[in-house]
Symmetry: D2
Subunit: 285 residues, 4 copies
């Protein structure tokens, strides 16, 4: 009995009587052993969300067969669904600018095996991160962003992402605004770490804004990127206490610790297929 490999089924559908019964019966009929299961009935939208982990070795058929067999049930209940295999690592492309605290943090989690991902490449509008990236054996792409022709740079970034067969894009303090069309094409697949406790302090220089407002805690927010700046569905956020003795520079420094932790938590939730989007909110199962 091997708990380490499992299939994760997740779906949402209109809420009604008997959903869990049908899904659980489908799994049980084939001898499927449920490791973890969680669900949420969203009162506002009237939708039902569910995530189930089934031990791979408890099923008598392949991953592909599982998908085939589940499809009719899914169609019948009008599900928006997906099944993933824990043995298949997700491909995560990281975008950074000049600040590297989130990059160091993600690289450590990757090299230690904490984050079970492949990083096919790292992309930056500066060359600072090249050395560290390449020392880790990861390809690095320097894509300068020319203010007079940003579109060209973002086309190149998208091309590199596609070429790398990227599934998830992480803006690890990338400091550039993605064009709306790209946000649309990668909807639900681009994670950003914003250095404030959203919705406070949208946009540039949030720590300076926070300092001026005289808040007593500063925060960070991991969210999906959408066409509207810093407005996408929030996956996770956290704060840290500050005081009048702290300068803007101190807020920035405290914030770094929160940014790293919140981005890593949000990314992990995403990678584990826990996050489902409902309107502008996330369900984290």
């Amino acid at each position: 009995m091997d708990r380490s490999r499992f299939y994760t089924l997740r779906f949402s559908c209109p809420d009604t009587v008997g959903i869990v019964a049908r899904v659980a019966s489908f799994i049980a009929e084939h001898g499927g052993w449920i490791l973890r299961s969680s669900q949420h009935s969203d009162e506002e939208s009237g939708r039902f969300f569910m995530r189930v982990e089934v031990r791979a070795d408890s099923l008598p058929f392949s991953f592909e067969a599982l998908q085939e067999r589940f499809a009719p049930l899914a169609q019948d209940m009008a599900m928006d669904w997906q099944i993933s295999d824990s043995a298949v690592r997700k491909r995560v492309v990281i975008l950074v600018s000049r600040q590297m605290h989130c990059l160091y943090d993600l690289l450590e989690r990757w090299q230690s095996g904490e984050l079970p991902i492949d990083i096919p490449c790292i992309i930056s509008n500066h060359d600072d991160a090249r050395g560290l990236t390449e020392w880790h054996g990861i390809p690095f792409h320097h894509v300068p962003i020319d203010k007079s022709d940003k579109a060209a740079a973002f086309d190149e970034i998208e091309r590199l992402f596609v070429q790398a067969e990227g599934e998830v894009m992480v803006l690890a303090r990338f400091m550039q605004i993605l064009p709306p069309s790209l946000c649309e094409r990668l909807r639900g697949r681009v994670l950003n770490i914003h250095h404030s406790f959203l919705p406070s302090f949208v946009g540039a220089a949030p720590y300076l804004q926070a300092y001026r407002r005289g808040v007593k805690q500063v925060g960070a927010t991991c969210h999906y990127v959408t066409a509207k700046l810093d407005d996408g569905p929030i996956i996770d956020q956290d704060v840290v206490r500050v005081s009048h003795t702290d300068s803007v520079r101190d807020l920035i420094r405290y914030g770094k610790d929160i940014e790293k932790a919140v981005l890593a938590r949000g990314l992990r939730h995403h990678l584990e297929d826990r996050v489902m989007i409902s309107g502008n909110r996330t369900i984290v199962l």
Copy 2:
């Protein structure tokens, strides 16, 4: 469709294939609408824990009939199980000593309807809380504890609890150690708030112990009372930051805020039938 009244089924049983399927199918067969469901598969003990809320008006029979019909399935799966009705308020007896911050806090939550409970009486080894209690229309019993014959006092307390048809006993800073036999008889029904972040600082004067050790955060722990002092299963705990500028008196003061919040959260989890005990740990579904 009335979401406000529901039945809460909870159980634990040996983990195996098909538990969720059988339970969910049982509910679905009768048209039961699941409002909330959560489960936990405990790797260590090999047991499965589940809690389901079913809308009362979605079932075609009474609460009693539900219990009768579920019993065979429960027996078949060797469940330790229980069903409760959200329309039936639990009867909570509160024990206090001279400090009244937790009592004030619980009374406010009770009078505002936040805690949907009945408080048949409040018992204390001092008379200080009589006025406030009686002003709220709640009977107050003063049971002095004579150091030379504590057993008599605890017999009286137990008698009052039984007479009041108490289901839950809350030690809201009661400051007295219950006799082991009473702990045993009321196993899983007595909640205590201990004024430290257990397992640190068991026993008397935890804030003084915390001050002497020079910790940078103090905490509080809500746990079930067992025969071994401050060792029962933990339901919830929290901490608050302190510093060298804080005297023992300051720690006590900060601690009060945490005690109130943690006791209320722990109690609420218990009242909502979310807490299941597994060895010396709690599963809070």
Copy 3:
């Protein structure tokens, strides 16, 4: 040697060389024993802020004499200053509406001696809090607020505050907006608890706003009331973690715990003469 009675000197003045030396020398010359001292040099405004506690029994003259003798130094350094005597309780008038969790909380802190204040009266636009207030032996004033003539109600509230010789006004979930002129007259003396993590969710129904934005933590903010709604200098704030399982009602419930704790902390800082206002920020010494 009695540490329990002390004078608290606090001031701000243009920052320059030798301020601490002059103030500390003045105190030392008269044998003054400093219990606590803290200061802040504000880089942005170029002002210096200081707060010193001096043991009353270490000085050879009265409180009045201390003020007289300190005045020339204060004038020489262009100080904005004030000295208070820990033996004189501040008079705090509390305004509430129908929700009473903050009121219960403050009353417990008052009756247990945790907050060393006098509460000359409690004022409300509803009659709900009368019983609890009067049971505590505190006068209660019901001042209904007629939507068509709010000015009259606020005139009455101000009259009651003045008549009660109130020094501090606490809006303990008062839910009404004070007229700008009153804010101006009581500048730096009216504390409000706002039920969001400001500057997020200004104005009405912040928990509903928070729910809709899908935040993962909700908060509360204690601030001085100014003419601009929810924009005054922040004294303290805190947050609590929430999730997709929480309804608006759950957020409100979690928020109550934070509101109580943050209001009490902010009020305590104010009462201990720790809070100085610099622009729209607070220095909490």
Copy 4:
């Protein structure tokens, strides 16, 4: 006027009247501009603790002259004192074992300039960290620890520390117990990060201990190393919420985030000469 270079004076001495006056007057006489000052009067020990930052360019003499001139005053008041120059970077030697999350974290803070230190070398009982260390241009020493002759290994570590002119030793998850004599010689200069909220779970496998006790939060503690295991003065500590769904492996993973942040904060306090030891407690000014 250059705020970036300053001298930090810190001392403790028997508490009495006039200490601040004498120290502040000494500084003012020479035109010294105080950037920051904080002090603590410890009721229990009867000692006074103070830390002052004076702008270097405001004094008309050198760092050495400052020390010479201050010495008589210090002697007169029986001070335990020290002055440091912000322009002189402290030399920090880091010891690691096989887990590298704290090392990555410290290296990022060092390379980005957040931690203004020199790292003359990194020492480990394993060879895993060599590549990353040397890529950063820092010498790496592999000192295997032979269980049958640990003393030899620790002699070598001490020799390397002395040879590197190390001032501070950081055990960044070193997982080995330093011999008491070494602890004694480096008293107040060796910082450890312990992976529990001390005093809970001293010694080995704290996350397993935490899991078994069923705590609802796990923590980390940065403390000075003393001869008694995990018992030294605590500089900082923090916690993170966990639940019954978390396995020991999950606790370890959450704990890493706390360990990194707490070690970095504790180290920063130490490097800024904020931490003074009083018995087994720290004063963090």
